[in-house]
Each structure stands twice: as C-alpha cells, then as structure tokens.
Symmetry: C2
Subunit: 218 residues, 2 copies
Amino acid sequence: MLVRAGVDLLTEKGFSATCVDDVLNATGISKGSFYYCFSSKEDFGQVLIEDYARSFNARLDLWLQEPDTAPLQRLLNFVHDVRANMQHHGFHRGCLIGNLGQEIDMLPDSFHGLLLTIMHGWEKRVNACLLAGFDTRATAAQKRTCMQLARYFWIGWEGAVLRSRMEHTPEPLDLFTTFYMAQAAAALGVKPPACQPPATPRVSPARPAPAQTVQAAN
Amino acid sequence: MLVRAGVDLLTEKGFSATCVDDVLNATGISKGSFYYCFSSKEDFGQVLIEDYARSFNARLDLWLQEPDTAPLQRLLNFVHDVRANMQHHGFHRGCLIGNLGQEIDMLPDSFHGLLLTIMHGWEKRVNACLLAGFDTRATAAQKRTCMQLARYFWIGWEGAVLRSRMEHTPEPLDLFTTFYMAQAAAALGVKPPACQPPATPRVSPARPAPAQTVQAAN
C-alpha cells in the first residue's frame, strides 16, 4: 500500500514536493512503521522507482515481444495501451521517470544512474523489437537505424506524454505517434502499421501480466 | 533581481518545491519587500512565467523571422542557439514551461491557461515560419502540414530538452533535430538544412535582441 501510494504521489507531484507525511496521510500508516520499512525518504524513493520500472518493463515486454505481430505494430499496440490508461486517469498522470527527470538536479545522486539505467532498458527493448523485423540478418546500418529509432521514440514519447498532461487530451500522443510511425516505417522499409486499438497480447506463463501497480502514463 | 532569481529557481526546482524563502535567500531581499511587490507566491509565479515568455518569444522571433534564410534553416539556427545555451549551463537548466508542465496538476489554476497560451504562441511562430516557405500560395493541405509540423516540433523538443538534462549531454537534442529536420523537409518538399552553427541574425531596430534574462533551455 505504501509503495502504491508513493508511486501515485510521485507521479503527480514529483519527489521534491512530496514529503513523508504526505505518504503517511494518504495511507494512514504511522511514521514508526514507515521508518521500520525504509531508512529514509531517499530509500523509499529508490524502492518506488524500482517497483515502477519492474511493473512497466513487464507491460512493455508483453507488447513488444508478441511474436506474431510486426515490430511497429507491437510498438503501436503499446502506445494504444498507455493512451487508454492515461485517458482512464483523465490525463492527470504522467510518466514517473519523465517527471523525476524534470527535477533531476534536485534528486539524490543515487537516483541519477537508476533513472538512466531504466530509460536505457526501455530503449533496448524497443531496439530489440525493431531488430526482430530483420530476423538475424540486419546489416550494421540497419542495426544503427533501429538503435536511433528506439532512442528517438522515447525522446518524443516523453514530450508527448508531457503535452497530453498539460492539455488533458490524447491529441499530442496521437500526433507524435502518426509522425513517428511514418518515419520509422520509411527508415525500416516497411508499411506503417494500421492505427487500430491493440489486440490483447497472448500472455504465456513465462511472461507476467501487466502489474496492477502500473497506473501512470507509461 | 527577484524575477531573475525566481526564473533560475523555478527552472531548476519547479514551482511546488520552491518557496518564497528560497527566493529571499537567493537575493537577500526582505520578506516585506517581496510582499510589497507581489501579493502571493502565485502572483510572483505569474510574473516570472510572463517575463520568461516575453524574453523567449523575442529570442524565437529573432531567429524565425530572419527574412533571407530558408524556414527550416531558421528553425535549425534557433535549435543551435538553445543548444549552445544549455551547454553553457552544463545541461542543468531545462525549459521553464516544460518544467511547470510536469507539475501541472499541482499548480494554481491561473497558471494552466497561461502555460497553454505560451506554448500555442510558440507553435504559431514556428507555423508562420514554415508557411513563409510557400509565400502566400500554400494550399489547405500544406497549411495543415505546417501546423502539424509546428506542433510536432514542440512536442519532441520538450522531450529532447528533458533527456539532455537527464543525461547532461547534447546528444538527445541532436538526435531529435536530425530526425525532425529530415521528416519536415520531406513533408515540405525541400532539402534538409545544413547542420551548421547559426549565423548571428541581423537585428533590425524593430526587433529586440535576445533578452539577457533568457537563461534556460528555451
């Protein structure tokens, strides 16, 4: 419950503006219990970030590793999933990692490497998804293109999530997706994916269902 | 001095995590003097945002209204200017408007419309710049393309600024710029601009020089 409330607060308010008392008030948990579990606000923040990343990675893998779907369609399905989730929350929730990025110079040093490692993990996942379109025959240039497209996706995506939160509409997400997909398809030499709501991915026993704690934008 | 210190603090810390005492400590100004000038922290914040927007718009106009330069080159020159400014500050400063966007649901209601109006003003400026390439002969489809490209620019740009701050490198700005310029050039049917540092724009008496208070990313 503490972690859930903490992720909610940090996703909406950020780390600097959230104090331990906010978390205690939101959960009704005593200060003694809090400090029994966590040595400090920094320690608590690290646990929240790691929990968020774990849940988010599971969701990302679920869409991006769908074997019978073309790579860009997998990515588009992920986008639709997040879009629906943001809409469900009235576009009041952003991305915890992006939010914390905005206050990066205010955060404990221990968070910096953690946040970058998480974002690089997301890039690696999209990169692997795009590379899957070449089986194992991608040239060095194609590998470079996939890596750049993966990185470009997350750069633009965070901007789109931010703008959708500011305007409380899905239109920035949609505009970004349309432009990105067209450019990625051209760069990869494939057709742009159809803009359809995602089919529910098959969940194999080896792959977890999206964790219920992933409530934020992505 | 108060406004300058306030913009610096808000650009690095955001609004929620900055208190009036931070501003007073940074400037040595007394609480009495502060409340003589501003009725509240909200009032102070509004003045900062408006001051930032005014300075930033002047800088944007300086690059985007350069008559002897092709539209995408004007935009690229602006990008180079901001990149140099961010580099000067070690990529520790972001965009005040983007920063505040991340904490949008924590801000006073009066800020919401203000921030959106500013971002729409930036979009209008880029749109007008892109339309200049068609003189006055743009078709309805071309007008729509320019408007979408202008909006897409700011969506991706805020994401790139965020990422450059997180990584303290210009590489995210460069990657975004390369992809965006290639796509925009194709959509407009022109050659991508050369990637060169900006020439200093000519400053006509009618157009102000970039205000010294614009220190943040954009």
